[in-house]
Each structure stands twice: as C-alpha cells, then as structure tokens.
Symmetry: C2
Subunit: 679 residues, 2 copies
Amino acid sequence: MSQRNGWHGWVGMSSVLLCLAIGLIGCRRGEIADEGGDAARGTPVAGLPEDANQIIQERGLTPDDVAAAVATYTPSGKMDEYIMFASGGHSGQVLVIGLPSMRLLRSIAVFTPEPWQGAGFGVRESPFHTEGDPPIGRKHLTWADTHHPALSETNGDYDGQFLFINDKANARLAVIDLRDFETKQWVVNPVVNNNHGSTMVTPNTDYVVEGSQYAVPLGLKYAPLDKYQEQYRGLMTFWKFDRAKGRIDPAQSFAIELPPYWQDLADSGKIASDGWVFQNSFNTEMATGGIESGNPPFEAGASQRDMDYLHAINYRAAEKVVADGKCAEINGFRVIPLATAVSEGVLYFAAEPKSPHGVDVCPCGKHIVVSGKLDPHVTVYHIDKIKEAVAKKDFEGNDPFGVPILRFDAVKEAQVEIGLGPLHTQFDAQGYAYTSLFLDNAVARWSMGDCKYKAPEGAWKLVGTTPVHYNVGHISAAEGDTVDPDGRFLVALNKWSVDRFVNTGPLLPQNLQLLDTSRPGDRFPVIYDMPLGNAEPHYAQIMKADKLKTWEVYPDVGWDPLSQVKSETAPMKGAIRRNGDAVEVDMIAIRSHFEPEHVQVRQGQKVKWTITNMERTIDATHGFCIPSYNIEASLEPGETVTIEFVAEKEGVFPFYCLEFCSALHLEMVGYLLVEPASN
Amino acid sequence: MSQRNGWHGWVGMSSVLLCLAIGLIGCRRGEIADEGGDAARGTPVAGLPEDANQIIQERGLTPDDVAAAVATYTPSGKMDEYIMFASGGHSGQVLVIGLPSMRLLRSIAVFTPEPWQGAGFGVRESPFHTEGDPPIGRKHLTWADTHHPALSETNGDYDGQFLFINDKANARLAVIDLRDFETKQWVVNPVVNNNHGSTMVTPNTDYVVEGSQYAVPLGLKYAPLDKYQEQYRGLMTFWKFDRAKGRIDPAQSFAIELPPYWQDLADSGKIASDGWVFQNSFNTEMATGGIESGNPPFEAGASQRDMDYLHAINYRAAEKVVADGKCAEINGFRVIPLATAVSEGVLYFAAEPKSPHGVDVCPCGKHIVVSGKLDPHVTVYHIDKIKEAVAKKDFEGNDPFGVPILRFDAVKEAQVEIGLGPLHTQFDAQGYAYTSLFLDNAVARWSMGDCKYKAPEGAWKLVGTTPVHYNVGHISAAEGDTVDPDGRFLVALNKWSVDRFVNTGPLLPQNLQLLDTSRPGDRFPVIYDMPLGNAEPHYAQIMKADKLKTWEVYPDVGWDPLSQVKSETAPMKGAIRRNGDAVEVDMIAIRSHFEPEHVQVRQGQKVKWTITNMERTIDATHGFCIPSYNIEASLEPGETVTIEFVAEKEGVFPFYCLEFCSALHLEMVGYLLVEPASN
C-alpha cells in the first residue's frame, strides 16, 4: 500500500476494531437500560417495617434490588469485611474501599501532593517534589499514572504488611506501609522512563517486578526513530525488597533487557511456577507510527500480526547470571543484556493471540491465562509443558533478536471462547475463572481445568456472563490472584459510566460495580454501582480486612512517620532558639492550643519549625498551616514534623489548626509576625 | 491572677471546657456502641427473596437496618434525587455527593492541582500556581482550606448555575460553573489574608460575601501585637458578581472595616431581612494569647466574656456610602472605614451568648438564629425588632470602637435550650429547625415560631435529638438554608469517626451521616454512614438534582473551558510549525490515535503544544501527558488545551492517552524526541 495514501489508506484495515471500540456504547445503552424487571418494581414486602415497604414502593425497588440493598448496606458502626486497594490512575494516588458497602474509606497520597494528608506542602515526610534527581532526570514530578497495586505476600497469600504501586508515566515505584497507610519510599527506574507490567510481587515479596511498556533507548538516551530496532528496548526490572527495613534496595536489584516490543502486563508464578515471571507483549510488529507522514498510526500498525509473544522469564536463572557478574551497568544499575538472557536460559517466548493485555497465573500456579484483546478466546498455558518444552528445546524458531519461541501446541493447555475484548482474569474458590470483556461490556465466568478447585460444570467451559456498565478494564475478586482465593465478591472496574449517575459534567466518574459471585452457575449479578469521580483506577486487590495490623495512633509521642521510629529531636515543649539569622521553633500541639503562640522573626531569616502532636487519643489529629507561605501539615496523634523555610514575606500570618479538634478548635491559633527587613 | 502563674494558672478556668471537648468521645463510645437492638438482628423478613433473608440473617441486620438499606440503596442506572456540594476543608477542593445513596460522584479541583481532572499540570485552564501575585503577596499557593460552599440563588432559592467557595487560609474565593463543574475564577482579598464567614450569597447573587476571621493589620502590613487594638482589624468584603459573565468583578466590589474581634460565620438576610448580612464574632475580649510568656492561651483568653457581638450589617446603606465616594482605598480596593460604617448606619451590634459559631436566617427571613457554642441555648433575633431598635436608637451602649449595641431584650425573639455545644442551624418544610450539638454528639430538632411553616408541637420547643458519631460540625438539610426548604434529608458532617469504620491508620476519615427527617416528631434516625477519607468538609449545601443544567459534552469542538467559548485557534488537524527556536504543535486526539504521532525538537527549544479532543460522544475523554516533563491534561469531548514548555531534557519521551478510551487505548501514543543540543 502506498505510503502516500496516508491514514485514509488504513481505515479499511482497522475499521472493524474502531467500530467495535467507538460504536459499542451507543448500541448497548438501549438494551441495558431496560434490565431489572420494571413490572416487579415497588412490590411490597411482608414483614418489613411499614415505612420500609412505603419506601420500596415510592422508590420502585424490585425484590432483587432489595436483596442487593441488604447484601451491601452496612449499618453504622459495623465494619466492612473486605478492603480493596485500587490504583488511582492519573490521580497518582491509591484508593482504599470497603466491601461490601463500596464506600471510599480513604485515599493514600502516593505521588501527588495532597494537603488533607499533609503530604507535600513543606513537610519532610513527603519528598514528592525531590524524587528522581539527575542522572535519572525526572525531578519535581507532582503527579503520576498509578496502575497496578500489589499487596505484599507470604507464600503467595496477602500478609497485610505493605502495598506497592507503580507510576506508568515516569517508571517509578512507591512503597506504602499498612501500619499507617502512608507512603514511605519512592524509587525511580534509572534505565527506562515508563512502565506498565508493574507492580507485581514474587510469592514471598523477595522482588517487586516492574515491566516497561513503550520501548525507548536504554539509559534515557536520545536515539532517532529510524534506529528503533537497533537502539530501542524493553526492560523487566526486579526490585529487591527488604521486608525487615520495609524498603526496596536498589543496590540488590537488577533488570533484564528485552526486545523493543511493547511489553504489557506481568504476573509472578507461584507454587508450581515459582521462580518464573510471565509477561505478554503487543506491537511485536515494531511499528513506529507516524500518521502525520502517511504511515499507519500505532493503533493500526501495532495490530497487524495474529500472534504476539508471551514472555516466560526464569528469574532464578537471572539471579545466577547476576551473581556470576555477567551483567552490564546502565546509570549504575545492573542490567542483563538480551543476548545473555537468551544464552543463559533466562528468557523464552511463546506465541499468544493478537494484542494480549492480561496475563494471570491460577491459584495452583500451573496455569497461565492470557487474553488477546482482539481475539475472543482466553488461552491457557501449562507450566509443566513450558518447562518440558524448554528442557527439550521444543522451539518453533527464534524472534529477530534470537529469543527461542516455544512451540505453541507444546505449551498450550486450552483455549476457551468467552467473548469480545477479553482483558484480565481472576479466580475464586469454586473452580471458576472470571475474565473482563471490554467490547462486550461484560464479565465472563468460565471453569478451570485441573486446578486447586473444581467447578461443577467441568473443565474449560464458558459458564455465563454478567453485563457491566460500561467498558470494563480490570476486574478484582476477593484475594482472587493469590494461592487461596476467597470468592464471594468481584469488582468490575468500568472505565465509562455514561448513563449510570447524575450528570456532573463532561468529565464522568468511573463506575466500580460489585458482583455477588458466591453461588455457582450462570448467575453472579451486579449488586452495587460505585461512582468514582476523583481517580481512574486500573487494577485493584481485595483483601480480608482482618489481615490488617494497622495502628490507631502512632506508637510513641514524637513519632517520625517517614522513618517509623521515635525522633530524638521531637519537641516535648515549646521553645524558640535564635542563632544569627537562623530561628528554630519547637512547638507542641494539644487540644486546644499551640505552644508557642507567638513567633516573631525578621524578614529573610531562616526558620526551622518542628511540631509534635502530643495527643494519645484516636482521631485527635491536629492540622497546621502557615498561610501565604504554602506550608501545611497533618499531625496524627504522636506525630512530629519539621518544616524549613525562609521568611521572605513581611506581615502578620495567623497559623492555626486545620482539623476541627474540639469545641475550642477555632481558638487553636497563633501569630507568625515577620518584621520588615527595612524596619 | 498573676501572669507569672503561666498556663497552669488558667487550667481551672477552662478545665470544664477542655474536659468536655477532650473527654467526650471516651465517655460516649460505650453508650452508642450498644444502640440498634441486637436482639432483633437477623430476623427473617417474609416476602423477600430467600437469598435476601439468608443475607439478612448472615449479616445480622435489624428491621430498621433493612428499612435504612431500602431508603438509601440506589440501583444501577437510577439517579440520586439530590446532589450535595461539600467543601473539602484543607484538601482545597469541593466534593459532589449524591443523596440518598451518599455516593461521592466527583471531586472538583478548586485550589489544589488535581491531575485526574488535568487541573494544574501545565494546562492554561488551571492557573492554580499563578494566583495572587504581589502586592497581594500570595503567590504559588497549591493548597487551600475551603470551608463554605454557596450555590448561586435567584430570589433566595438555589438556581443551579454557579457554586462559590472560600479559602480560609489565604482569603481567596473561587467561582465554579455548574455547566461543566470546573473552576473558572480565583480572586484574592487584597486587604486581609484569612477569612471564615465566607462564602454566602445575597438573595439574587448580587454579592458573594467574605468575612475575615483572625484580625490582622489591614493591607497585609506588619504591626506588632502590642498594637493589636490600634492596628489590627476585621473585614467584611462584598464581592460583586456579574451573572452574565459568570465572574466576580473586583472593581465593583467593596469592603467594610470591622473591630479586631474574630468574626466568624455570616449569613445573608432574605425576604423580610433582605438588604442585611449578619455575622457573629468571638474573642471580643481581644485576647492576644502568648502562653509561652505565661499569658492565657487563646482558648482561655478568648472565652472569658459571657457575651460577644452579633454584627448586623446594612449593605444597602453600605452601597450608598460607596456610591457617595465615602470610602478609603487599600491596595486599590474600596474599604468603608469603621467610623464611617458607624456614622452612616451600616454597622450595629447585638449581644450574643458566649463564643458564637453559627448564625442562620430562617426561610421567611424574619428570624436570625445564633448558637453560642459555650451556651446550651440557641438565641433567636427578629428582624422587625432589630429595625425598630435601630430606628429608635434603642442601644445599651457602644463597643470600644463606637459601634452601637442594640438592647438585647429589644431584639431578642426567643431562646431555646437544646443541649451542649450548639453550632449550626438548618430548616425544613415542617416548621422545624435543626441544630448541631458538638459536645453532645447529636442533632437537635426544635420548633420555629411564627415562620413560613408551623410545627405541630408549637413554637420554640425542643422536639428531640438524634445521636451522631462523632463531633458534629455543620449540618446540611435539603435546600435547608433557602426560602423554600425541602426537608426529607439532613446530613451531619461529623469530624471524628473513631469506631465507625475499618481502621485505615492514625488519620481517620470524617463521617457524613444521613438522617431521615421526613416524619414529624422526635424520631429522625441516622440511615447511612458515609466515610470521607480524602477531605475534611466543613459546610455543604444540598440541592434538588433536577435544577442542574449540566453539559454532557462541550457545546462545540475546540471549546476553551476557562473562557467557555469555542477557541478560534483550536487545532482541527495535526501540524507542526517551526520558527527559529519556537515550535508550535497542533494536535488532535480521537479514538485511538494522536496526530501527529512524532514530535521532533532540539533540546532547549520553546514548545507551544495545543490539543483538541475531536470526540462528540459522552464520556469519550482522552488524557494526555508528557512524562518526565510533569505535563498532564484531561481533555473532555470537544475540549482544547494549550501547554507551553522548554524542551530542557534530552531523550525519548512517549506521550500517551491517560483514559482507557477504547480497545486500542494502549496504542494511542506518540514519541516526543528531544535531540541533544550537543548533537
């Protein structure tokens, strides 16, 4: 086809895909709007309080609505049974949601400064603005695109200790401590500048896995696009996690160079597949786009081949390569070159259907489920077959970079046709797998084969589908990606909400729908719609709430949340020290006053201001702010923070408590007086 | 009492208050934990689907729980009937919540940059970082302490067009357009640097009212605290609102100088009291604190007098003073001096009980309800009596600044004893008023006298109280501060949640509790607990959702949301223009590609990058980001944005769509290539 035809030359080729993607909402809204049996609406229910029946009639609730209401409504003071950690997408945060009530319990400031939490407005506990100095070259980033939260695991099961989350936009990772739900560490990838197959943890959280997405020159260098195949690469990074310190240790971490395909999601093996990580890929066409020059746009150029490559990575073998010193260094980081990964048996490929998105390992670890989003099947691989094909060198050739391609029929266990646009798969305790169908706006339930649990319908069968509203991305089942799924609940993270909620403007909320998956068979209905209008979650994990060992208040007065120890320098009483132009303010906060209440400085002086919240009562948080100076903090009971600034602005600035802490909260105030240098 | 005794000398005096404030949670938790009739839990309900009854038993729901569940549960695709706009406190945002489901529909970025909305990361629609340049002296503020949202009104009723919100910390106001729920204007007070009695609107939104809180030297000057009574002042600002332009017009606005008390909340008169604004005050002791020097802390020093001053401001008289040119100018802003306000009959005081917090005008406008938070009564004033006392000069003297004090018994209509720590009052359509009781952890329902509606219990009686959990601040009833309240629902904005939700760390969520106030008498129960873990709402307004006239998509392709018109320069096709070191990129975004896909520049070049989202389908939002450059945007259907930056970093930067917009969303990407200057 002539390049001169330009984009119009490509319409035919991808029009089916575009029609599916664009036309779908329009054609489904009608159908879905009618569901729910209007005939049954408002039927009185004997035995309910009279006013309840009156309400059921007034509100036109069906018996199924009532059943859903009692399944999700959580009375005052009763606790949710599960807790869901959802990424915030380009909000840069993590959202914590209770199940079955689907209430947003809190957000966690991870990459974006958030003043309600006192994160990033002058307080040292929040180094949001200073991560990623050169040579890494990502300085002063104040937002992120968080995608995949990963709870820390012990023996492949959630242990409730830590949460990890990635920044796709800037190839960063964060570590959150679930004792106080605060971010403790930010690491920046020094080799590539974007990720996606991230974060996933190995079964005992030895490593936090970060897979890149869009190929770039390694080491953050410049290279023109006509050098794409020679100089652009993908990367899989294994960040070593030190559980005792609660920190990632970059010095003990390493990465593996990959071909310049666009690697997508990844999952760690477990039990039978322990020691392996699986990742899929798209754009194995190595299309470089350029619609403005008459080239096919990426959406067409990257969708031409029928098969892409599942990556099977033996990271135990990779550890040995690193231990033997066979890696290169890029910006001081250890990287196994692609050729070495091949020669040392670290990296194998297997064909996978068209433009895969999700790869998910089953509870027993034997099955690896891949969804090609432009193919109506899920494809299931078996780890024993992969290992056997590796041992027998049962290859169907090599890719252009010499990576051996395992023979598809040798490693494939099953293919199950489930519907259009399959993306991601989770598991339950009834022998079912669930896969999101983006184009069908549905969640498919299908039966696993020889796995930890057996479904009554037998192996590898589509059991049923439930419509969701609309454009479902990830799904999350209760502990549904662990060695021991709970089942019962599944959440569909729908990207579009369209006609589900009161219109609050052209920027619509997402729709997180709760499905009741507790019973076998083809009925697993939607029982709650949760609008989410402050973030765009991609993936989420759902954990039993009783696994948390969270603090109610900090363990001691003078606690430093960043280092998680008592600070030796935390003030226990008020004081002001002056040394030339340096002023040190020691402050305490307790209902309902600060001490000191007057802070007098001269314009231009350097101020180091440390505050301790002396409270030991749960929820007795005090806020603190210095207006006009953009300084703000949230001090939980026992917490101490330090703020440093130059008193550049002359004038009188009331500092005050930001949390309504007592009946005399408004009186919890003081004056910062900055005398002009000219006086 | 000797100043040398220091703070310990003051413990006795305020120990009762401190005990009340601090001890309360501890002593109430026991009681409240037992409520709800455990005996009745799990009773099966005949007529419900069997699985529903099984769930009721498994979850131990009482008949009242089931009634609350059906009253609040909103099935998929059914719309909430009311929409609540809540301030975000020190999150700096506004939260939009649906009733009765109590679901967070979305947040609105007002003062704090928020990337999910593309607000404040390089896009001109979000001047978050550049408001308040000198002489105003509040530059680069990236957070705020929002307190009191005010919906625009026509004839004293919500009209659904605009929302206003204040920043207490920095004396700023913002204007939000409810056609797209985006912030359009930020104004900064040039005379004082903090506010609280703000925002309230006059009955036809002629003015947005901003009352200061902590006295400071006017004009943002420096003055020592020993000059407090001479040089520190309060201020009431009347910002003129131009409804046609949807903007505040500072040139047509003015302010009134007030004594250096700490003015608190304000409310506009309506109907009978149209033309007046009422504001209360505390610290009429003019205490200046200084606990570190042995002085009483503010919490004690500001709580000594039994009465403070209700401010009655005749703003029609003030307008005449301004028209007659009798005002001063401070930093270019028109200010009526205190002496002039007195001599021209603009300002009157009336005694009000100890440390008032809320002042609220009833639906007919005759009654002004004040709560002294250290007094168990609400005090009700009558506008006719105020006008008569003004006319007759029925004063009980003047304050130290010459402000006439209306005789208390001449202006007082009633006092009703309702409980401990009364704060704020709202109204319904049954003749009831509701007042939050901070110290009692309850909401009181009491009957109005000769008002728009008559309660069956007769005038000025406490009818009942409902416990809330815990430390309730503001309350909000459906249209409960308008001339035409709806009743039915009331939300208690509780500051502490303590034992209501799964523990998510030492920083607890707030608890917004929904009360069913639809029936007369003493029963108006809590029917829903909504945890709020991303903000600290102070006040909220609840409006009938059908009053909104919100856009589903922007009216035209190429829409500029800041000016709310189609931009003449919005790209309709891709192009790159180069002029020396200036590079202009015209980009379009449509499922599922950007055009152009390649942007090649040299390091150090100045880039002006304009993007139009060509979509006309509801919810077809595209995101855009340039990783490593901290540039990020959200483009709703039809929206155009412009980003300007210098290409300082060399390298290869994939820019991509941030919203999962189609099955080929991951392919909606391009490369920014920054060739090193050294090449």
